[in-house]
Assembly symmetry: C2
Homo-oligomer: 381 residues x 2
Amino acid sequence: MKKILLLGSTGSIGLSTLDIIRSMPDQFQITGLSVNNNIDRLEEQIKEFKPNSVVVTNEREAEQLRKRIGPLCEVLTGNNGLVEITRQEEYDILLSAIVGFAGLRPTIEAIKRKKRIALANKETLVVAGELIVNLCTEYQAELIPVDSEHSAIFQCLKGEDSNSINKLILTASGGPFLNKSRQELENISIEEALNHPNWKMGNKITIDSATMMNKGLEVIEAFWLFNLPKNKIEVVIHPQSIIHSMVEFIDGSLKAQLSTPDMRLPILYALSYPERYNYNGVSTDFKKIGQLTFFEPNFNKFECLKLAYDAIDEGGTAPCILNAANEIAVEKFLSGKIKFLKIPELIKEALHKIETEKHFNLDSLIKCDFATRELLNNKYS
Amino acid sequence: MKKILLLGSTGSIGLSTLDIIRSMPDQFQITGLSVNNNIDRLEEQIKEFKPNSVVVTNEREAEQLRKRIGPLCEVLTGNNGLVEITRQEEYDILLSAIVGFAGLRPTIEAIKRKKRIALANKETLVVAGELIVNLCTEYQAELIPVDSEHSAIFQCLKGEDSNSINKLILTASGGPFLNKSRQELENISIEEALNHPNWKMGNKITIDSATMMNKGLEVIEAFWLFNLPKNKIEVVIHPQSIIHSMVEFIDGSLKAQLSTPDMRLPILYALSYPERYNYNGVSTDFKKIGQLTFFEPNFNKFECLKLAYDAIDEGGTAPCILNAANEIAVEKFLSGKIKFLKIPELIKEALHKIETEKHFNLDSLIKCDFATRELLNNKYS
């Protein structure tokens, strides 16, 4: 029986995780949950999964929940609550599905406790890859990717020597705008950008998928997870999202991991690894799939992808600036304050105006993150 | 440095094997070779690879070669020569690329010497799967598949628990007649049948590919290699031959092994396993491949595939009869004595007329093989 601390339990990844855990009561047990605001949903989850403690980052909502549930479970609050629960709760695996920078500190706490990290929060590695990878080595904590692309690569590498990798091929659906010209992207509406062809995900990541920044962040994530130079991490457009990614080996052979796109599969793998558990929730029929296609990505149209590759070269706090600027830019787009093509412009502006530091620690990352957000927020306040 | 005994050195697999070995002189060394008749080619190979001994199964040609090369290397002859060379030669790996039933006895000898068997001779497992698998267990000999489909599955299973397999999906190009109706197959010429769209192979296997008996034999081979019931071995048509086969796991996830179709890759893997060696001979560019397609196979049009599945159920010597009848039927087709659609008819006739034995040993297999060939040869003598 594996004990799971699930941070971000009402988001898309959180709900898929609970769906898996619901179907495997003999394998998994929830010991902690967290939400930002959605205490109605959390209350249902508490009643169903009976965690020892939960976090509601919004303090007013936390107070509200305490009144409703009484002594049923402990309710912590704030970003400190997230750190506290990872420090004090009993668990084998932290599944970190918090969106954005807020996932970083709890992840570090769990690493220091030598827990397995099932990482769905890609910002953790994008912003602080070097820090996290070094901490995992120091504390011998396992870092298992939940992103479907990185899970695919992780699965393809099982039993293989890391020295036999020639390159990683991250597949990208290309998002809803694959076949639109750059000009057509000028006046894209929020609804069009939120209409992803294959994956049902949260709003932030769906916009990242439309700009292809999502793939850019994944390239940076792969860079840290698999310890390869960026010219060995390739992106190929594969609109059907059936092949989740591939590894090419030094002998010329490739392996791919495939399935109907459904996040429950990589989540389950991150929890069950190194084993595979019996699960019938997702099926894949190649006779019905019919065809899989592949294209080269257009770096001119999807500038965010190029900015991400550049941030790897720049190194230091550049990916932190890239990530923070992107979070704010997406927020501004979703609230109707900027147009779609303004997203990469804001990121470039931030990368230009905020100075990159080569050497950093958690504090300087927090400062860099804050400075970037402030710069762009002030612009549109 | 691994020492290789290569049986069948002038066939398509043999030449590809020598091409690999030529490019890796620090990794591999040839200690023995064999051919049926082609002593001109063998003479060149002897001069290039300097084996200790060779076999020429045709005795007259063997005598001829002895005169030509003098003391350069020992020349054995006949089917007994094949057994002798596997018994006496020094080698780490037997690569058995002999076509048909003749590959069985040398394979058994190598197993008894606890050598690694790199198996390109699929008839060995089709005819005597139970015998071979039991001998490998008894003598702790490694059996590594060379067929691209089985190599793909073998590679996908690396690091995975065999209990976590849900099913194997063997891909089939569908051969040159994928889009022809059964009626159009009536008057197929030998040239049309030998014109395979993706793979350059020997004549026998190319016709087997056109009838899809090749895939049928591979289903039987997979049945023995991976120890799974036949309903867990599926065939899917994939005309581009890029995905060489797939494994579906119990959690719903799949793995595939892929590359440009080139037998040098599975050959190299069977030789280098468990490592992968650096090799640049074959490259795969997904951006150029464009698309991969998948269809259900038509068991009515490709009756041979159905006959192979049925032979698994029948068990005992049924696959031996199937294989021998197919060899003769293909021979008759290639010599213009029967039409293409007569191939499955002859196999059905043999399966009907020759009695299947449930329990068998090598001697009864040899008898069964002989009886089947005699039956069909007499019919067209």
